[in-house]
């Protein structure tokens, strides 16, 4: 029981504290690739600290939904983070919700975020909400199909079980179904976290904004929570990707040494993935909004292919 | 035994008269003049009365005499007279304008007669009713032919009066069947039928008259406002 509580607190701390770092890392690498210096790895922490201490302006048109949204978003994203295995195969709350719960918790947060966008009454908010809901909706089948393909291999939707099953089989990720599912999930990751070519988190250009348009009216602590949640969401999805497909180093027994190795490996894997995302971001231009479905359709086809190759080559063998 | 008491003779006579009736029916089909038509109908009815009498005589069935008398009175005399007076009173054109031209009508009548024979053929071999002289059993095809041709005439005639006439000649076929097959229906039925036919004829006459009044025409093919 105590161990359970400790692991919950530990993972909470990990998700809370580590997630801005990934964002910072991505930004820095991206800046470097663009031959800029970048703001440094601690800039997100400084931003959050500053925002949390600021006052805030609430639009006169907004209702309680507007103010409640950051809290809901924060809580759901964080909770989703507690359901995925990060450094140990056994995620602290994995028994209380599997991958479906993760996806739906994120959806709950998004639901409120979109409502918050609409609540301001400005056309930017509505624009952002509309696009956000659209893109997440069409990303959903690809995400789910890929997740299912993985879950079928493990015979469970519980992420800890999935990770455990993956740990047991070395070189499993080389099977075609796993590769295809990974590729599909990678595209979904880019869409869900709002990266180029789907969305550009650094822009405030009204024609292309998605995420930023929704949160245009937020300021102060609310904005801090939202930014923080965005980082956490990114980390949650990335963790999902790396630990499901490359579960190497996940500690199964919880020994201190194992933990240490797995932390190091976990950080390493995440940073590699972040690097991959940044490379994609840098190598591509932003797509027109109505080209995004095509990208996500590719993701869906990939995950469907993954499923079919599971069917063709068998759940475990392939 | 006198020759007219021989049932064989009666049978011949009946066959002959039935044939004449049929010929008259076809004549009506071929005829173009209304008054001639009415007269042909009168003669046809008269011949039917004669057939009825003959059968009554040979079978000693008194109630057929009544039927014969009624036929003679109403169909051969009264109805033709009424119709003729109606025709002269409402001054309709005398010529019948059939839908199908005369030669074709006659050919169709021929086919209908043939059909009647085909239909009645299996009945020809039947035994006569027990206890009566087997007279005029072969008149059933004639009766059916009368019926069919009468029916055809109803379809082929434009004027209200001619349709009534066709209906009446069609009923003559029934009468022939009734007396030759079954030697008359039970008397009460017979009387009832006559009463009905009489009332029907009167009603039809009234209707004809009112159609003439209302539409200024006897052409019932123009009565087509009620559709769908």
């Amino acid at each position: 029981m105590i161990a359970q509580i400790i692991s919950v607190i530990g993972q909470t701390a990990l998700v809370l504290l580590f997630s801005p770092l990934i964002t910072a890392f991505s930004r820095t690498i991206k800046a470097r690739l663009q031959t800029r210096r970048g703001p440094g790895l601690f800039q997100p922490y400084r931003d959050l600290h500053k925002l949390l201490r600021k006052g805030m302006v609430i639009p006169e048109t907004a209702s309680w939904i507007f103010t409640a949204t950051p809290y809901v978003l924060f809580a759901t994203t964080l909770l989703a983070g507690l359901l995925i295995p990060t450094i140990a195969t056994q995620a602290p709350l994995s028994l209380f919700g599997g991958v479906l719960a993760v996806v739906y918790l994120l959806a709950l947060g998004r639901f409120f975020l979109a409502l918050g966008g609409l609540d301001t009454g400005s056309s930017f908010g509505g624009l952002g909400s509309s696009r956000e809901m659209t893109i997440s909706a069409i990303a959903e089948p690809a995400l789910m199909l890929a997740v299912f393909t993985v879950a079928l291999g493990a015979g469970s939707t519980n992420l800890s079980s999935v990770a455990q099953a993956a740990v047991g089989q070395s070189w499993r990720f080389l099977s075609p179904s796993q590769m295809l599912a990974f590729a599909a999930l990678f595209i979904v990751l880019i869409a869900e976290t709002g990266r180029i070519p789907v969305d550009n988190p650094a822009t405030h250009l009204e024609l292309t904004m998605i995420h930023e348009a929704m949160i245009l009216e937020y300021s102060g602590p609310c904005l801090a929570l939202i930014e923080w949640s965005a980082s956490m969401k990114q980390m949650v999805l990335m963790t999902l990707l790396v630990n499901v497909f490359f579960p190497y180093g996940l500690s199964a027994d919880g020994s201190p040494l194992g933990m240490l190795i797995s932390v190091a490996l976990f950080v390493f894997k995440l940073l590699i993935l972040a690097l991959a995302v940044v490379l994609v971001e840098t190598g591509n231009a932003k797509l027109r909004l109505f080209r995004v479905p095509e990208l996500l359709a590719v993701a869906f086809v990939l995950s469907a292919l993954a499923l079919i190759s599971t069917f063709l080559f068998g759940v475990h063998g392939g | 035994m006198l020759f007219w008491q021989d049932p064989q003779f009666g049978d011949r006579m009946i066959t002959l008269m039935a044939a004449l009736v049929l010929v008259l029916q076809i004549t009506m089909v071929a005829q173009r003049w209304l008054v001639t038509n009415i007269r042909a109908f009168a003669i046809q009815s008269f011949l039917l009365a004669c057939i009825a009498n003959t059968i009554a005589y040979y079978n000693g069935a008194t109630h057929i005499y009544i039927a014969a008398a009624l036929t003679l009175m109403f169909k051969a005399i009264l109805l033709p007279v009424i119709l003729q007076r109606l025709v002269s009173r409402i001054e309709i054109r005398q010529e019948i304008e059939p839908f199908v031209n005369v030669p074709l009508s006659v050919i169709i009548s021929g086919f209908l007669t043939l059909l009647a024979y085909v239909v009645a053929e299996p009945l020809q071999t039947q035994a006569a009713l027990p206890g009566v002289a087997g007279l005029g059993r072969n008149t059933l095809p004639v009766a059916i032919a009368l019926f069919l041709i009468g029916f055809f005439m109803m379809i082929n005639r434009r004027k209200a009066v001619t349709q009534v006439l066709a209906l009446l000649s069609l009923e003559n076929g029934l009468f022939l069947a009734a007396i030759s097959l079954t030697y008359g229906m039970p008397l009460i039925v017979e009387l009832g039928i006559f009463f009905d036919v009489l009332v029907a004829a009167m009603i039809l006459a009234i209707l004809v008259y009112r159609i003439r009044e209302t539409f200024d025409s006897m052409d019932v093919s123009r009565l087509s406002r009620l559709k769908g």
Partner: protein, 498 residues
């Protein structure tokens, strides 16, 4: 003694009405005769239920369950029509449909015609059901036509004349065929029984020995009877006079024709059906009945779907229901005739309601067009409007209304007789009929109020509608046991084994 009484009542009513002076006296006599007739019919039904059958005058008149049922239904329709007709013609006078009529003499003459002819009409219908002799039955059926022709021309419009002419011509040909069939049956019977006895055409005698009749003659006879009485019942393709006559006759007359004459003609057909099945076995008659029943239902469909007049709509519904009854008889077995007779009973109670509602609507708007009437009848006629819709649901066989039960019984008979494909088609046609019928009537009844004045002025017109609606609704949940015994007894007569 109830049998002659039953026949005497309408005859006497007709005679007295002919001599009566004022309108009120005629109305009173009419009402009284209808009541007395219905009472007598109930007494007859009770007698039949108690003793199995009733007869009078050396079996000249004869009633078994089937006759008693038809008599009861006829008397009922007559009873339902009588108060309604009073209100109907009073409204006619108010509306001045017969033109300027200062002292009311024209109207009185017209109304006298109705009050004299209708009891005669009823008399012939009673006689159809009560006569044992098939020839007399034919005479009586012809009598119904004769009595009703001048009721069809009642309004003296050119169209009513046209309708009457078609009615007379087609009816005349039809009944001639029926007579031919009757003669042939007599012939077939005579071969077996001899012509000596007057009873040779008595059904009760024929039914006993029909098995020995000549097959070819009976075949021919049944074809002619089917076409003949089918014409009178309005089976397709002999149905063509129906829409014309029903739409031109005054509403109570149309109700009598649709609900009562139909039963009488089918009654005649059923009597011959029994003889034919006894003689030839079930398949010949069944096939023909199914063919014509089905054709009737099918023919009604397009005309119900695309229809401009609601009176004609009701006529096509009548054709459809005649077809359903014949189909039930054709399906045979134990359930088919039961379904047919249940259907006959329920139809006789529902149809008048429909005609009354239609009549009220027509008198209110002055036409029976489905196109000219802008809808919203509900506002103008707060009783007849909604009841029209209710009656429409009832007559299209919507549960809980009773016609559903009978249609379902017939459908079960169809499945029992392994006519599965036909039954499926039957259901499809029923759905199509419902669609057309309900669409038209809903368009008529519902909708925003228009500027026409509020109707329902005459209680004589609304009370029959209300009481019949209550009865129709009640029948959906409660069928009196004696009535059911009567119906099932009658069905046993028709469920013959060869």
């Amino acid at each position: 003694m109830t049998i002659p009484l039953l026949l005497l009542i309408p005859l006497a009513a007709s005679g007295i009405t002919a001599l009566a002076r004022g309108r009120r006296a005629m109305e009173l006599i009419h009402l009284f005769s209808a009541l007395a007739g219905f009472t007598a019919a109930i007494l007859l039904a009770a007698e039949v239920l108690a003793q199995g059958q009733a007869s009078w005058g050396n079996s000249f008149l004869f009633a078994d369950h089937l006759s008693a049922l038809v008599v009861l239904l006829t008397a009922f329709v007559y009873l339902a029509c009588s108060p309604y007709s009073i209100g109907y013609f009073r409204t006619d006078q108010i509306n001045q449909v017969f033109g300027a009529d200062e002292d009311g003499s024209i109207h009185l003459a017209k109304v006298r015609k109705y009050f004299v002819l209708t009891p005669l009409f009823a008399f012939s219908m009673f006689l159809v059901a009560l006569s044992n002799n098939l020839g007399v039955m034919w005479v009586a059926l012809e009598g119904t036509t004769l009595a009703s022709i001048f009721l069809v021309t009642f309004y003296g419009r050119p169209t009513s004349l046209e309708a009457a002419w078609k009615y007379a011509m087609i009816g005349g040909v039809g009944l001639s065929m029926a007579l031919f069939g009757t003669i042939l049956t007599y012939y077939a019977a005579g071969q077996v029984l001899g012509t000596e006895s007057l009873n040779a055409l008595n059904w009760s005698v024929l039914a006993g020995s029909a098995a020995k009749f000549d097959h070819t003659v009976m075949r021919l006879a049944f074809i002619l009877i089917l076409l003949g009485y089918g014409t009178k019942a309005g089976l397709a393709p002999m149905h063509t006079w129906k829409p014309d006559a029903y739409s031109e006759a005054p509403a109570p007359v149309a109700a009598l024709m649709a609900a009562a004459v139909l039963n009488c003609s089918l009654y005649g057909l059923a009597r011959f059906y029994v003889l034919t099945v006894r003689c030839l076995g079930p398949s010949f008659a069944s096939q023909l009945l199914i063919l014509f029943g089905f054709l009737s239902i099918a023919v009604a469909v397009p005309f119900i779907l695309v229809q401009r007049s609601y009176r004609r709509l009701l006529a096509y519904s009548s054709i459809d229901h005649g077809g359903i009854m014949v189909l039930g008889l054709g399906f045979g077995g134990a359930l088919g005739p039961l379904g047919m007779l249940l259907h006959m009973t329920f139809h006789s109670i529902t149809k008048p309601l429909l005609f009354f509602c239609a009549g009220n609507a027509q008198q209110h708007t002055g036409n029976d067009s489905l196109r000219k009437t802008p809808g919203g009848l509900l506002h103008a006629l707060p009783v007849s409007g909604p009841m029209f819709l209710l009656a429409t649901l009832a007559v299209t066989g919507t549960p809980p209304f009773s016609l559903f039960q009978s249609e379902f019984t017939i459908l079960r008979a169809g499945f029992a007789a392994e006519h599965v494909g036909l039954s499926i088609l039957f259901v499809m046609l029923l759905v199509a009929i419902f669609a057309g019928f309900f669409y038209h009537i809903a368009q008529l009844v519902l909708g925003p109020p228009n500027d026409s004045p509020k109707g329902e002025t005459c209680r004589w017109k609304t009370y029959p509608v209300i009481s019949l609606s209550a009865l129709v609704l009640l029948l959906g949940f409660w069928l009196p046991a004696p009535l059911y015994f009567l119906i099932s007894g009658a069905a046993r007569i028709l469920a013959v084994q060869p």
